[in-house]
């Protein structure tokens, strides 16, 4: 009785179909699930003399609605979107930090210089107290900003470690799935495992740019960077995070190849990890370097000007601020015992990058880490004649071997060493060094100014002198050789220039003396105030305030660009996901229709079996007699 066989086959086939509909409904919300359909086909017919007789239906296959192209597009778009959204998210923190109208550097800098101006208008004990307090605030503000950047560095490192561990876990899953899929490869396709594997690859791509290559055994092999194998078949090669070879406080991503660990950060792009590395190298470190350079520029300029005047006690002004110097760290891979010490000689030449100092056997080479540009070195590396390039002076001690490397950070850690070197407001040097005076007994009305220091290092600068005019045009200094006086040109005494205005008379005397008790003298205080506008950074084009504004603008524009790219990539990703879902996604209405369709067919097939059974009964009843 073919009818019963055909009917039960049909029941089985429709049951499978209904099972698949149920599976689709069950997985309506599963990420990466592809809608499955049962393909039915008529069984091969049987030849019965007069022709072929149908033998019912069978399940040909269960297939998934799948497009390799669309799936790969989702992976690629996901990688870019994750990269930019990570970059934008982290960049926004620095962005928020820098330009907070009350928390950024600008207000502290403004109020410090306001105090300097008050001090210059009226150098009294009250303004000295105020300026010292403001100097403390400014140091704290620099420090707080730097600390926030250091914390962000720590968070970034944690996120990188997290990302690397996720990549390793996903790589393990991929290797396992490769194994499971390979073992079951008997011609039939394990749709759900394939979906799972695609989903694992998508998640991997979200964390790092990957290249996939399918091999003949049904495996998908995965490569990262510029060709490093992450997964091949059922084997995986993990990434790891270890201490930087130069700086034990920093971490770097390495690749564990068969030949040992290889630093790989420079070639990793895309995904969360790529975004994090990009944030670290393009925003975080440069911001910290720029902030350090700003602090160093500020402290150096202010200290230098303070040293040009006399403090409250009539002594040369000492340093108001202390500041950290350049960091120079040897690689742990160095075989020589050489060490270098680096001094920043010209801050205006320093860019927001680090430098590598490399022994090349035949000589040394200084390379910018960001552009790879080689800076030609002069000098011989001794403390008397250091190697010099790009504003840096490098003194080498000990011996280095070919290939030994050092990392130089000119300003990254400058703020670590920023502090108040002065004990109180009396250290601020308001007064000039010298004063000139015409003797009261002079018969002419010629006057002398208080002098301009041209050589601060002159050992006799403060000795004082007396200028005696022999005639209206000749004079002697402290009884020395007779010199000629030319109206309008200054008289140089012990490294300072003095201008005499008017026509002196024979016998006139002008005295030059060290400035004492000049509580109200504000000559140097005015110059201290003018350091606010001194363009000491970026090749002498930016003042400290401007350098900070430029840092804010730079971070702002990188953040804005990252945010724009992030939203653009998000759109690309959404549309890729939608296109994949158009093909592979489950539509419940469709499933409802299928449910009804297969239910009806199932009921009909059951009816066929019932009819077959009745026919059988008829036959049995007929033969019972």
């Amino acid at each position: 009785m073919t009818i019963i066989n055909t009917g039960t086959d049909a029941l089985t086939a429709f049951q499978r179909s209904l099972d698949t509909v149920a599976q689709n409904i069950a997985n309506v919300n599963t990420e990466g699930y592809s809608r499955q359909t049962v393909t039915l086909r008529a069984r091969p017919p049987q030849f019965v003399g007069f022709g072929f007789l149908g033998r019912g239906v069978e399940v040909a296959s269960v297939t998934r609605s799948y497009s390799e192209f669309l799936t790969q597009q989702v992976q690629t778009a996901g990688s870019s979107a994750a990269r930019f959204s990570t970059l934008a998210g982290f960049a926004a923190r620095v962005d928020d930090l820098l330009a907070d109208p009350s928390g950024g550097l600008s207000p502290a800098l403004s109020s410090f210089y306001a105090a300097v101006q008050d001090f210059s208008s009226d150098p009294s004990s009250a303004t000295r107290t105020a300026i010292f307090a403001e100097a403390g605030n400014l140091v704290e503000r620099f420090d707080a900003l730097d600390q926030r950047l250091v914390e962000t560095t720590r968070e970034t490192t944690q996120a990188i470690e997290q990302s690397v561990s996720e990549i390793n876990q996903l790589a393990t899953s991929l290797a396992q799935l490769n194994g499971q899929i390979g073992r079951g490869a008997t011609g039939a396709v394990p749709n759900d495992l394939l979906d799972q594997r695609d989903e694992v690859i998508r998640q991997l791509a979200e964390r790092i740019d990957v290249t996939t290559v399918a091999d003949s055994g049904g495996n998908i092999n995965l490569f990262i960077g510029n060709g490093q194998t992450l997964v091949v078949g059922t084997e995986r090669f993990p990434l790891a995070v270890q201490q930087s070879e130069f700086d034990p406080t920093r971490r770097e991503v390495v690749y564990e190849s068969l030949n040992g660990r290889i630093p790989i950060e420079n070639v990793l792009t895309g995904g969360t990890l790529g975004g994090l590395l990009e944030f670290q190298s393009d925003i975080l470190d440069p911001s910290r370097r720029a902030l350090g350079a700003t602090a160093a520029g500020f402290a150096q300029t202010f200290n230098a000007q303070n040293a040009q005047g006399f403090d409250e006690f009539g002594e040369f002004g000492t340093d108001i601020f202390s500041i950290g110097g350049a960091q120079a760290l040897a690689s742990t891979n160095n075989s020589g015992n050489g060490a270098i010490s680096v001094t920043v000689e010209d801050l205006s030449q320093i860019d927001e990058t680090n430098y590598r100092f490399i022994d090349e056997g035949a000589g040394f080479r200084l390379v910018r880490a960001d552009t790879g540009q080689v800076l030609p070195l002069t000098g011989s590396g001794t403390s008397a004649d250091p190697y010099r390039a790009g504003g840096l002076a490098i003194v080498l001690t000990g011996t280095t071997d070919d290939g030994d490397q050092f990392n130089i950070e000119p300003t990254l850690a400058a703020i670590d060493g920023l502090g108040l070197a002065a004990a109180d407001g009396n250290a601020f040097a308001a007064a000039g060094l010298l004063r000139g005076e015409a003797a009261l007994s002079n018969i002419s009305d010629a006057t002398i100014d208080d002098g301009t220091v041209v050589d601060i290092n002159n050992p006799n600068l403060l000795d004082g002198a007396s200028i005696n005019f022999l005639t209206a045009t000749t004079f002697q200094i402290d009884g020395g050789p007779t010199q000629t006086f030319t109206p309008g040109s200054p008289i140089t005494v012990n490294g300072a220039e003095f201008q005499i205005t008017g026509t002196p008379a024979a016998g006139d005397q002008f005295t030059i003396a060290r400035n004492t008790a000049a509580d109200g003298d504000n000559r140097n205080a005015l110059l201290l105030a003018s350091t606010q506008d001194a363009e000491v950074l970026a090749d002498g084009t930016l003042s400290v305030g401007q350098a900070y504004a430029q840092l804010v603008a730079n971070v702002g524009s990188v953040t804005a660009r990252a945010q724009a790219s992030s939203s653009a990539q998000q759109v690309v990703l959404e549309s890729a996901v939608n296109r994949r879902l158009e093909v592979s996604g489950v539509n419940l209405d469709e499933e409802a229709a299928d449910l009804i369709r297969f239910q009806q067919a199932y009921q009909a097939a059951a009816q066929v079996v019932a009819v077959g059974s009745e026919l059988f009964d008829v036959l049995l009843n007929a033969t019972r007699r």
Partner: protein
């Protein structure tokens, strides 16, 4: 196009989230009143805001500096006005004392009053400002500028003059030093002084008729020497005779840069000197008059000495008045400059504030309408989502 359920929900949620983000951004703008919340909203604008803020802070600082300069200049001016009145009073008293009707006793009263006015002038020169700094001691603001010493007065400060930054490119000088105002007053006509030798025995009193400075004066000295009561010689510093002539009381004799008019009758051997005027401080000038007046003048010779001293003192007071007036004029012009700088700075401040507002401030009307538009878009998206998601074939099974 197939629509998958996941796709439908993703899109709907994505759209609603996008609208909520925009709504949140506008809400934040309205709440803070600022167009730029963080530099990435407008990097160029953010950096300009920092610039403007710094400029504004500096400008406010310049205003404070200018006000400080103005206050100190006003105090100087007030003080110097009082110095002028005191000097004028001293001049009146001196003129009064020179009157022939005065007796030794009445001159003594005047001398006492003049001595008191020296103390008053000294107190004015030692004026302190609001922060207890001496106004007229140059840079040495903690040092009392003038003190009385044996035989005169000493200036203890220096000739420093503080400058105050009142705009980015302009500094205004603070008060002048006491050295300039009080201590260095050239007597005579400000260049040349004529006097009678102390050993003179006649009653001649000399006055220089040249009251202005002579160009090219080489600081040389001349003596007018009387050979007898009628004949005189003018000699240079080496004793060589430059000119000679005959004299009658009241005649005027040319001697170098001066025109010496001699009242009274000189005797043989009497000498009148012409030479560069020395620097004196104004306290000594007044005090010298007082001590001359306190000395009894009982005969024609002592009377002549008194007249000589009074003449010299009057010239000195005139020079002092001139000097104080000069300084007051200069302070007045600096005060005017400070006032106009205050106005200029205020104008600049307004411009900067407008520029800052232009970059930073939110157009509230525009933001409010954007808020309304986005709120209704969000509401529509939510409503349509609820309606569409409730449609399902399963509802009818």
């Amino acid at each position: 196009m197939r629509v998958s359920n996941q796709g439908f929900f993703r899109n709907a949620v994505g759209n609603i989230q996008g609208l909520q983000q925009e709504l949140n951004a506008v809400q934040e703008q309205i709440a803070t009143g600022r167009r730029i919340q963080r530099p990435s909203d407008d990097p160029n604008g953010a950096s300009r805001i920092l610039d403007y803020r710094e400029s504004l802070a500096t400008l406010e600082q310049y205003q404070r500096n200018t006000e400080l300069a103005r206050n100190r200049l006003r105090l100087s001016e007030d003080t110097l006005t009082q110095v002028t009145s005191a000097l004028q009073r001293a001049r009146e008293l001196t003129l009064q004392a020179a009157n022939a009707s005065q007796t030794n006793e009445t001159r003594g009263f005047i001398a006492t009053e003049l001595s008191e006015s020296v103390d008053a002038l000294l107190a004015l020169a030692n004026t302190r400002d609001a922060s207890d700094q001496f106004l007229f001691s140059g840079f040495q603001s903690g040092t009392q500028p003038f003190s009385r010493t044996i035989g005169g007065f000493t200036y203890n400060g220096d000739d420093g003059q503080r400058f105050i930054q009142v705009s980015a490119s302009r500094q205004i000088a603070d008060t002048n030093s006491g050295d300039e105002i009080f201590a260095r007053i050239r007597e005579g006509n400000g260049q040349v002084i004529v006097g009678a030798a102390p050993a003179n025995t006649g009653t001649g009193v000399a006055i220089n008729e040249v009251q202005t400075r002579v160009q090219g004066y080489d600081f040389s000295t001349f003596d007018v020497v009387f050979l007898d009561t009628e004949n005189y010689e003018v000699r240079d510093s080496l004793g060589a005779v430059v000119s000679s002539g005959t004299f009658e009381p009241g005649d005027s004799i040319a001697a170098g840069p001066a025109q010496v008019r001699i009242q009274g009758q000189p005797e043989a051997g009497d000498t009148f000197t012409v030479g560069p005027a020395p620097n004196r401080d104004l306290f000594s000038i007044v005090e010298d008059i007082a001590s001359a007046l306190a000395t009894d003048a009982n005969d024609a010779t002592t009377r002549a000495e008194l007249d000589s001293a009074v003449n010299r003192g009057l010239e000195g007071i005139d020079r002092a008045l001139e000097r104080v007036l000069e300084v007051r004029t200069s302070i007045g012009s600096r005060l005017a400059a400070a006032e106009s700088q205050l106005d200029t700075n205020l104008g600049t401040e307004l411009v900067l504030q407008e520029a800052l507002a232009g970059v930073e401030d939110l157009d509230l009307a525009d933001a409010a309408s954007r808020l309304a538009a986005q709120a209704s878009a969000l509401e529509a998206a939510q409503q349509s989502f609820i309606r569409v998601q409730s449609l399902s074939l399963f509802n009818f099974l």
